[in-house]
Amino acid sequence: MSVEVKTRRIVPATEHERQKWFVLEGYVEGVPAVTKRTSIAVTALVARPALLEESRAKLIADVTEYYENFKLLEDIG
């Protein structure tokens, strides 16, 4: 079961949160139930730039798992 998980940056609504957080959203087109967001502390990103790619990889893995579970439930129904 292959699925294309896309990621995009979500800009927080307030200035306070824009300064503190880098938000990534993982999603599958047409399946909003499996969308998931990861908020990464900007201070940690500065100290450890690799955290961004690590978080993106984890997000894609999580959304893929969500999608597979979602499809299983859909097949049952």
């Binding site: 503190k20 969308t35 998931k36 990861t38 908020s39 990464i40 900007v42 940690a44 955290l51 999580d62």
Partner: protein, 279 residues
Amino acid sequence: MSQLEGILRAPRGNPATLRDWEQFLRRLNEQMKFDGERAVINALTTIASRTGTDLETLLQMLTDQGRAQDQRFLPQVSAGNVLSLQDVNPLIASSDAVTATISIAPHSLQYGFDVISFNGGTITGLLPSTTYFVYADDPDYEGGAVSYFATTVRTNVVASNGRYFVGSIETAISANTAAIIGATSASPIVFETGTAHGWSTGNEVTLSALPGDFGTNLNGNDYSITVVDPTHFSIAVDGSAYVPYTTGGLASRISQDLPGGAGGGGGWVDNPYYGYSPA
């Protein structure tokens, strides 16, 4: 409109023309502006004390279903002293060697008017061994995929209308590893680390790659430690018969995932605080 009948002169019959409607709305607007003591919203609150705004703005804050979207309109009384309950405890925290992560499981929130479902999420780049308060902004009660944030300042949770308090949680201790550079053949065994370990008495470590008798008897096992100083700790094992330590070895602190505390209006439904046990 029944709540407003006492302060309005209803037009004779239904307003039929644009002029009738204009007249009716103008009269309604005047009453609500100037009669702050008696103009009532949701049978509980006066416009003057809660909003200080005009009719046009008030009407914009209502949905088609007549549900107030703004938190200021929610009545202060609530069922069972809570305004909402989560269906599960959604929070769990873990740590690696450097940073902590809070995972938020998909869950739902039961309000008086509806059930709101939230997708899962994570917050990462956090400090280990720190208490965080987790929230999400959802002013329109839409649920779905929201951005979860964490703060160490509890008051931030209520610093914005429409903010949903997901719960509080203490992140796990860091799972860092220290290189062993010395060990005593004694009881208890005292280990020396190459750099400051940063651990506390009662922490558990996994020992590995130790040489000789130390390795044969201790490698792969978990031990509760007693901190001697920043670069020494001991374990309650009699190593007096071991051949002297030579070189090598690692000690890795064990970090266990931790569950979170109550969120929403009253935590989750099987929170022991409420004495509820699911069947």
